[in-house]
Amino acid sequence: MAEPAARRRRTERPAAAAPALRGLKGEPGPDVVRELDALLHHRLRLGMVSALAAAESLAFNDLKGLLQASDGNLSVHARKLEDAGYVTCTKTFENRRPRTDYRLTTRGRQALGRYLGHMEAVIRAARDTLGR
């Protein structure tokens, strides 16, 4: 049976945050690690959200070309972002060909803003350490 989206989201965030940061040197601090959005810590999902933050909406093929991703890979990660409510997906027909467009939601934009804040905090902390 398919796992409900809400449950999948709950298990993804805290559980995936640690593996995503595993293998990284340094002392990130417990707060930063805990608060990092695991969904956005994945390079392809981060790329999708960043691209959609710059453009009002992008077609599946535009995203594929921009991020140099395969159809399957992009679909899987777009679905995860959709399930989390970060992006919305619209399917239409253009010249009788199916077309899929993605848009960033307010929630997705806020998540990207938070993620950027965390990354900046990490860099600031590293600079402070170097300055001492």
């Binding site: 002392e27 930063v32 790329g47 710059a54 009002e56 992008l58």
Partner: protein
């Protein structure tokens, strides 16, 4: 047999701040790339191409150096059409006009265009009219190639086509100059404009 011990491969994991810097760089590049997808107006390029086709036919029937005046008016018209079409597309996409890749594209294109204006004045005054078509095509092509680094892939390809056509025109007999202008500013704009409009949202 004794072997020289080689240094172990550098498998040092990146520090968190290195990863953060890489992420910020990646976000910036992706956002710039995405904005480029939406700001180039294919319809505008087609309109510029069509007006250039008209100018080409008009210049062909113009007596003496009057062809030069026709193409100068056409260049000014193309600039206005290009700016208006870009304005319309950025407004539709709700993107700032003077930010990110579009600004870089404009700056990269502006330099060779300014050189073209100065060269046109100097060469026309010296009577070297035959050199102008090749020079215009090559300068515009190099501007598109440079600006294309901040836009979709079709733009640098179009720039390379202009550059190649300009080089061929410069080396070809002067009588082919008007045809080259028609083919370049007319034909290439219409073809690439249609491709951009079809593949990148108008």
């Amino acid at each position: 047999m004794a072997t020289t011990p080689s240094a172990p491969p550098d498998r040092t994991p990146p520090t968190l701040h290195e990863r953060a810097l890489a992420d910020l760089r990646f976000i910036r590049q992706t956002m710039e790339g995405a904005a480029a997808f939406t700001t180039l107006s294919g319809a505008g390029l087609v309109a510029i191409g069509l007006s250039a086709l008209g100018a080409g036919f008009l210049a062909g029937s113009a007596p003496g150096p009057a062809w030069l005046r026709v193409w100068i008016v056409e260049a000014a018209l193309a600039l206005v059409v290009g700016v208006l079409a870009t304005l319309a597309k950025t407004r539709t996409a709700r993107l700032p006009l003077l930010a990110g890749p579009l600004r870089k594209f404009g700056l990269a294109l502006a330099a060779p265009l300014l050189v073209g204006v100065v060269l046109t004045a100097a060469l026309a005054r010296a009577g070297f009219h035959a050199v102008l078509p090749g020079a215009w095509l090559m300068l515009y092509g190099s501007g598109l190639l440079a600006g294309g680094a901040f836009s979709i892939r079709l733009v640098p390809v179009m720039g390379a086509c202009f550059l190649a056509l300009g080089a061929a025109t410069t080396l070809a007999p002067p009588a082919l100059g008007p045809a080259a202008l028609l083919l370049g500013f007319g034909g290439l704009h219409v073809v690439f404009g249609a491709l951009v409009a079809w593949g990148h949202g108008g």
